[in-house]
Amino acid sequence: MDVTRRDVMKAAAALLVDQWAASRLSAAASERRSNRKVIVVACGGMRREDSFAEGGFENIPRLNSELLPQAAFFPFVRNSGVTSHYNTISSILTGNWQRVDDWGKTAPASPTLFEFLRKRMGLAQNQAWLISSNKALTSRIGASSVRDFGPAYGANVIFPKQLLINAVVHAAAQGRAVHSADRSSVQPEIEAMLNRDNYDGLGWSVSGENSSLDTLTLGAIQQAIDELVRTNAPVTGDEFTFLVSAEVMRRFAPSLLTITFSDMEVAHFGSYSLHLGGIRTVDRLVHELWAQVQAIPAYNGKTTMFVLPEFGRDLDGSTTNGFFNHRQNSDSTRVTWMMCLGDAVRKAQILENPIEHTDLCPTIARLFEIKNLDLPGKPLPGLWI
């Protein structure tokens, strides 16, 4: 990515987080902080053969050559639940296989890690975030429908990519195209989105609070967007999600941050080359995220980061049309990998025993010394927990 565009996107991300912070100063002041940090990165659907397998390594050069040698690596991670995005992410976050509406109409049916952390540790809301590229999720993913938990203990959930998508789609719906010499035709659309009373209509939600922008911040964001749309490089949603995530890390250093990337989901439309491009973007962004962890004092030396695909994709030759989809009951779809980096790693090693997605929740709970949770999964081996 060219430096100018990156700086502009960074500035836009910073301003968005600024705006969020301004409206929550009092909450931030009373927070209790945990010293330990956990980041979970869920990366859409990618097959082992396109990532950690012969022929796939070329798509993940940084994960394979630079991060793997420092990681506890689990090559066999099973998703035994519903292999849709909303159910998978909520299963990872709750440690229970979720079987709720695929399009996020209902909240997870058991408490999320965010709620456990905030309730048991008394953490403030700005200590638990979910930042997602995936349009299949909704803000309901941040808290369960369980009566003793729920939104009062939920995470901040934001969808940066959705802002760009909605702006572009809205422009198209109004018959306005994004022109070659002047991409500023999309600028008013983004600004209009930011000017709305509440982010929820955009797919943005900061736990149900009203999030209108003050004039000062709005002006600054408009300036940043103005710069952004005048660059000519392609824009990827995952890049913007990453920049917002990095900004959240710098400002709030949340104890638990979950990021989901989704550029590789272009596979649903049948372009294998663009799907592989999405995997390469994730490889680069995860590497940069880990560099951020080293660079930010609040994270350096006390962070454990888990990186895992949500699922694989269907087998070539399947009746479900191979890599396009992720609904086949096969190992190609259900079995992926997970990389664990940082603080909790006893030593760099490959742990071949199969594990399940639902093992991640009790593991993270242990990292935060949350005990007596009634969860079906087992804490992962090879970690200091």
Binding site: D102, G104, V169, R183, F269, S273, D316, F324, N325
Partner: protein, 427 residues
């Protein structure tokens, strides 16, 4: 039309209505979760290809052959499973496959078990309905896949193997002439266009020509084949644009989506259809179902070619299918994040071809077409020829023991290839 002919026609229609009503009564004997797909097919009888009609009729004949106690015994485990799954409490359509149905089934913790049970019952009934007479020899079929010169695909020796029987060979001369030779034929040697037209084959869905972009040049020369099922992504542009615009109004809600999609099925699309499709209601419905089933058919030309070919193989089992891939444009700024939108509408930037990306896409999708064909019993009598015009080379998969005696070191002329393939198809 004479009075007698009109009366005969009416009598035929009444007979068909009675038959279909009988089919519906048979389907009602099955557990609830097996009904939607069968009922949908019966309701769409007019849109079914001959193969589908025969298959459905054979299945229902099999169902009819079961005495009630035997059928009760066969479906009992599925009924128990439906009880455990709570199907009675679901909003479950029995008249057609819906997203809501699929979503409820897939979310059930008993889904895998349900699939196994349905498969078991289906196989038992299907087996009962199969023709017990001595199977007659199946005719030879052809799947011809064309990767045009614009696609810089990798050398064939580096391709992921398609099939252990695959043979690679080089083409002497212009590989681009092969498609025309095979479809149109040459003096004294008919092509598949005349061999498999409906008059010769007795099946109006025996020949399919599916193209990413006719502007690459006609697959077949003149005369065209009005009997063939011809689909061209580029020619469908007006229809696609309107269809996509309506798909994009679908809200993030399964029930509402099902309603919108059902309305789109019923809609009159004639205004947007290319002339080639207007007089062909069955093919028009095929395209609508293709677009509604996703898989990128509305978005990328190569995804359209692959998915249309796979669906044609599944639904029509053609004698010959020709699929030609093409170029797609690079995603434009901002459109990469809203890929489901119409790129031309979002961005005024001119389209820029992406030959390298298109070649990667086309190569895996070409293999998918063969893998789709290989799923069916007809694969045992199917020749598959994939031609890379860029490499002036091809890969042929022939039934066991019937491959040509060509070797990679001796280039084969297009005329030799044509003669050998037409010889196989005519034998």
């Amino acid at each position: 039309m004479t009075r007698t002919a009109i009366n005969e026609s009416r009598a035929g229609e009444a007979e068909e209505r009675a038959t279909l009503a009988g089919y519906k009564r048979l389907v009602a004997r099955l557990p609830v979760t097996m009904r939607p797909s069968l009922t949908q097919q019966i309701n769409a009888w007019e849109s079914l290809f001959p193969y589908e009609r025969n298959r459905l009729a054979a299945f229902l004949r099999g169902l009819d052959s079961f005495q009630q106690p035997a059928l009760d015994s066969l479906v009992r485990p599925l009924l128990a499973l439906e009880e455990k799954m709570g199907v009675a409490r679901w909003t479950f359509s029995q008249t057609g496959d819906t997203m809501e149905n699929a979503s409820q089934l897939a979310r059930s913790e008993h889904y895998a078990e349900w699939r196994r049970e349905v498969q078991r019952i289906f196989e038992a009934i299907d087996s009962a309905g199969r023709d017990k007479a001595e199977p007659h020899a199946l005719p030879m079929r052809l799947v011809l896949i064309l990767l045009p010169k614009s696609l810089p695909v990798a050398p064939l020796a580096e391709w992921k193997p398609w099939d252990p029987r695959g043979q690679i060979f080089h083409i002497a001369g212009d590989a681009g002439s092969l498609s025309k030779l095979l479809v149109d034929g040459a003096p004294g040697m008919p092509g598949i266009g005349s061999l498999f037209n409906s008059a010769s084959s007795g099946d109006s869905s025996a020949l399919w020509l599916i193209d990413a972009d006719v502007r690459q040049g006609e697959i077949a020369g003149q005369p065209a084949y009005p009997d063939a099922c011809c689909l061209d992504y580029a020619l469908l542009k007006g229809f696609r644009d309107e269809f996509l615009a309506q798909v994009n109004t679908v809200p993030k809600n399964i029930e509402a989506t099902d309603q919108t999609l059902a309305a789109m099925r019923r809609q009159d699309w004639d205004k947007w259809l290319p002339a080639e499709l207007k007089g062909q209601p069955r093919l028009r419905n095929f395209v609508i179902e293709l677009f509604l089933s996703g898989n990128g058919a509305l978005i990328f030309s190569n995804a359209f070619v692959e998915w249309a070919a796979s669906e044609a193989l599944r639904r029509a089992r053609p004698r010959a299918l020709v699929a030609r891939f093409g170029l797609r444009s690079k995603p434009k700024p901002f459109t990469g994040i809203a890929i489901f939108e119409n790129q031309q509408r979002i961005s005024a930037l001119p389209d820029v071809d992406d030959p390298e990306g298109s070649a990667i896409d086309a190569l895996i999708l070409a293999r998918y077409i063969w893998l789709a064909a290989a799923r069916y019993p007809e694969a045992g009598q199917t020749l598959c020829l994939c031609v890379s015009e860029y490499r002036n080379a091809a890969c042929i998969i022939a039934p066991q023991g019937k491959g040509p005696a060509w070797t990679p070191d001796r280039p084969v002329t297009p005329e030799e290839v044509q003669a050998w393939i037409m010889g196989q198809l005519s034998s």
